[in-house]
């Protein structure tokens, strides 16, 4: 009885955003063992997301960076992995303060180890030099 009651207190409903199925997850933490329990997922990625979103929510950084001498003035960039949600806005500022030089290929590392996360910011596409 006690176990059930305490589970209800720390249970969170999280909508999985890994794919468009949008599974409704019920995530709770056992107060004794600290084990995180996920229900309502349809795939292993959903379970992983439930645990991550419950304990340390992360998001992929998506923005644009200024390009010098490029065919276009900005290039779309992303982080190679999701970074902690709390660092997103600060990370965008770092990207905005950085410029890169054309030509650029998709996958080129434009910022290494952003905010000491060991995660890089890479180019999402090629940009040729302005002719």
């Amino acid at each position: 009885m006690d176990e059930k009651a305490s589970n209800e207190v720390n249970e969170k409903e999280i909508i999985c955003v890994i794919c468009p199925n949008s599974c409704r997850l019920r995530v709770s933490q056992d107060p004794k063992t600290k084990e995180i329990n996920v229900e309502g997922h349809q795939c292993p990625r959903g379970k992983k997301y439930g645990i991550s979103e419950y304990s340390n929510p992360v998001r992929v950084l998506i923005t644009t960076m200024r390009v010098e001498k490029g065919k276009l003035p900005v290039i779309p960039v992303r982080s190679t992995e999701a970074i902690p949600k709390s660092l997103l806005i600060e990370a965008v500022k770092v990207v905005n303060d950085t410029h890169c030089l054309a030509p650029i290929k998709m996958g080129d590392i434009l910022i290494d180890n952003i905010l000491n996360t060991k995660i890089s910011v890479i180019a999402s596409r090629d940009i040729d030099v302005k002719s």
Partner: protein
């Protein structure tokens, strides 16, 4: 006049996939694209979430496009950029214009239409108020920010809760543009749930359902906006008004398949705005095929790729005189939307009548209302010839049915219905379904 086996109109996701699929069939292929680069709308959709079905990994829009562009570069597919198609005839003569060569004609054995769609503008919905600068379709604002590199404004209200609206709401917040609210006339968000979670909830942007804009202030530039709740008849309810000072209003109220070229070529246009096609994705004009958003507005680019791959392959087969159906006008069975179904693609089926074996058809359609625990069924000659259970259906999520139908079961037409699971089936049928 340049002779080419398969000409692809448009170099977006549909055109890229159709071109590669046709090329793999060993025919000559050309892509005609009006922009200065390939990729289409993907180039401005810089967010991630693309490719989970097709590449089995999560990519951004530009990455998804780049993978196809790199393949095109390795091939002998001819790409004509900055090239506007002015006309397509039913004999498949294509008139184009571009700044370097002026007017150029192409003669194609077959054509794939991949022009995509465009946004409905403010004029398509009657929003009251003044008409100052600062009112943009969401996709146009997306292009300004993500490709051209400048911001449309500093404080924004967004009308519409489709995917692009919610993604633009997040994009604005990331760049320090304040989004005061998102308003939606429908009682539910019209985009994917995950976009509501990741784009609105993450940034604390309020979503007002059953609300619309009742006033826009400002002479030269937008200065403010007022929204209000609406009743069942979509009339504003007095006393529910909310007003903000904003300099920009973004809205998206739907996409229109871009079919001027198609209808001029003689293609019959169906009720959903795209050309009527058969199971080979061939329009009512022989040798002209269609795929992607010009045919039906998709919610996932992966499905555009799958659809366009089929269209490209079939167009190449037509060019080689290998398509099983040559005359698309004869022996047609019509597929019709039934209860709670908005439209069905393909609308016509040409090959089933002469088939001796079970005949495979891929249907795609949308439901009219969000529902739970439903059955999608296909009815012909008054009998249920196919059914499938589904837990959730949403108007924002296209349904795909790949079915094998027995030719003897099919009459002059077939109808796709969405029905309640308990209303129409008896116990035996229920067991049949659960067993399947």
């Amino acid at each position: 006049m340049e002779n080419i086996d398969v000409v692809i109109i448009g170099g977006g996701p549909a055109g890229l996939a159709a071109a590669l699929a046709a090329y793999e069939e060993g025919v000559s292929v050309a892509i005609l694209e009006r922009d200065h680069e390939l990729g289409g709308i993907l180039q401005q959709c810089i967010h991630n979430g693309f490719g989970l079905r097709y590449f089995k990994e999560e990519l951004t829009g530009p990455e998804y496009a780049q993978r196809f562009i790199n393949k095109i570069k390795e091939s002998k597919i001819k790409v004509f950029l900055n090239t506007m198609v002015m006309q397509i005839t039913s004999e498949r003569v294509i008139t184009t214009i571009n700044p370097n060569n002026g007017v150029v004609h192409f003669k194609a054995k077959s054509i794939v239409l991949g022009m995509g769609c465009r946004e409905r503008t403010r004029g398509a919905i009657n929003i009251p108020g003044t008409r100052p600068a600062g009112i943009f379709p969401a996709g146009q604002a997306q292009r300004f920010i993500n490709i051209e590199g400048y911001f449309p404004g500093k404080r924004v209200l967004i009308l519409g809760s489709g995917d692009i609206d919610m993604i633009m709401a997040r994009r604005c917040m990331v760049e320090g543009i304040k989004v005061v609210a998102v308003a939606e006339v429908l009682p539910y968000p019209s985009g994917l749930k995950r976009n509501q979670v990741q784009c609105l909830d993450d940034y604390g942007i309020p979503l007002y359902l059953r609300h619309t804009i009742i006033d826009i202030r400002g002479k030269e530039r937008v200065e403010g906006v007022t929204i209000a709740a609406i009743d069942e008849k979509w009339r504003p309810i007095p006393g529910t008004e909310k007003t903000w000072d904003v300099d920009t209003i973004l809205f998206s109220v739907g996409l229109i398949p871009e079919n001027e070229l198609s209808s001029n070529a003689g293609c019959k246009i169906a009720n959903n705005g795209g050309p009527e096609v058969d199971e080979f994705l061939q329009t009512t004009v022989p040798g002209i095929f269609a795929a992607g958003n010009v045919l039906q507005v998709h919610d996932l680019v992966d499905f555009v790729t799958f659809e366009a791959t089929r269209a490209g392959k079939n167009a190449a087969k037509y060019a080689k005189d290998e398509l099983p159906i040559k005359d698309c006008q004869k022996s047609v069975i019509f597929a019709k939307p039934g209860s709670d179904v908005g439209y069905v693609v393909p609308e016509r089926i040409c090959g089933i009548k002469n088939s001796k074996d079970p005949y495979e058809i891929e249907f795609s359609f949308r439901v009219k209302n969000p529902r739970q625990n439903i059955i999608a069924e296909i009815i012909s000659k008054g009998k249920i010839i196919y059914k499938r259970k589904q837990k959730f259906v949403l108007p924002s999520e296209m349904i795909h049915l790949k079915v094998k139908l027995n030719p003897v079961d099919v009459g002059e037409e077939l109808t796709i219905n969405i029905i309640e699971q308990d209303s129409a089936i008896n116990v035996i049928e229920k067991e049949m379904l659960e067993g399947s």
